[in-house]
Symmetry: C2
Subunit: 243 residues, 2 copies
């Protein structure tokens, strides 16, 4: 595991995530050895339109996957955390851009090699299929969240998704570090920064969360946040981040 890295003067560096061992993913284990690649904060791993030569697995840091509309509006499609694959599903060229939000280390796998390996390992194709399928499900979740839900519901669903992600990784479900800016969250949820900020404030005054330095969110009332997310039962079918 990469030692938590040399402090740079980069503002975004304070948002660095603790480097975690990548989850032992079905896919990783069956892949040939990948080369490491490190990109610094605010640097692109790849851009929309680039030939899709590699897929990557995030090992430390985090990456925003996004696309921009011709008029400049940006939609963030996913925040890739350690253990997540990016660049999968790109056919000939990447349909989205991948921007490191902090100094990020990735394992890279040439797609040519992937195709080669698939010829020997008959299960690899299906594993790739499974991996993209998960991303497809996540895209549908995001679609549900973004299309019909109110600002409060979107943000609540977002926080709960991060909470669950933390839980899955054995971290606290109530202490959430937001490595991304308000702008990023807004572009992910299809809102403006102002609305995101206002909604954070609303949750705070309602006692659902605590906020420290915009970065650290403490969930005070998970139950109520669930209600806020789902307008009804606190249960299922919320936003799932691809993970």
């Amino acid at each position: 595991m990469l030692a938590t890295s040399h402090h740079t003067t980069e503002t975004a560096q304070r948002r660095n995530l603790p480097a975690l061992p990548p989850r032992t993913d079905d896919l990783t284990s069956s892949l040939p050895e990948g080369k490491s690649r490190v990109v610094s904060a605010k640097e692109h791993v790849y851009r929309e339109g680039d030939p899709a030569t590699h897929v990557y697995c995030v090992e430390a840091g985090h990456v925003c996957i996004y696309r921009v509309l011709p008029d400049g509006r940006r939609q963030i499609i996913n925040f890739a955390y350690p253990g997540d694959f990016i660049g999968l599903g790109a056919l000939r060229e990447h349909a989205a851009s991948a921007l490191a939000g902090a100094k990020t280390r990735l394992k890279s796998f040439p797609v040519a090699g992937l195709h080669e390996s698939a010829r020997h390992d008959t299960t690899l194709g299906l594993r790739l299929y499974t991996a993209v399928s998960e991303q497809l499900a996540a895209a549908h979740d995001l679609l549900m969240t973004v299309s019909h839900r109110s600002a409060s519901e979107r943000l609540a669903a977002f926080l709960l998704a991060l909470s669950r992600r933390n839980g899955r990784r054995g971290e606290s479900e109530c202490e959430i570090v937001l490595p991304m800016t308000r702008t990023d969250i807004a572009d992910f949820l299809g809102l403006t920064i102002e609305t995101v900020s206002r909604t954070f404030t609303k949750f705070r005054v309602e006692g659902l969360i605590d906020l420290e330095q915009c970065i650290l969110v403490t969930i005070r009332d998970l139950e109520a946040l669930g209600m806020a997310a789902g307008s009804g039962v606190p249960s299922e079918q919320q936003l799932k981040l691809a993970s």
Copy 2:
């Protein structure tokens, strides 16, 4: 090709699509023989939560893929037309429901058989991967459209997507038959029926389209519709329907 079918009294029947030869898709050709299945209008091919035992290829008719939020709001994820695959990407159980919008004929393929075939045909896994990847790209397109765009932009993008789909099938790019209801369109674009209806009317009075019986849209000014869709250059990055 199925003869354009026996007229039923079903209202939705008038919305039936002309039966087309399914596109000779990469995937279809490499699949073992599939059994035919016919479902009538307003009948489910499968429901959210059903075990994902089969994938299907639409041969005639059309199918709405949708999910519902706990509070009842519905998001249509895709309209599957002849040649389109549905049920792909479901891991253990279907994450969405598939409802036939008209009498629909499908070829069904058991997933168990798929896994079996993949063991012999090493390229099948990759083809499945490619197929889901296309759906992922389509989901991202829809996400872009639904999250940041105005009602006019959404509807314009939708009409253009159908126009392009027609073009790809060698049909008229200006005469668009809408086999789905306003409610369906609304649930696809994340709007209300009223807004959809108003926007149709707006396009009509602006001379962008003609409307006959809510079903038949004639594009009068493709250029202007492109502008309406993209607020800027009429070019790329619009809504693409998975097809």
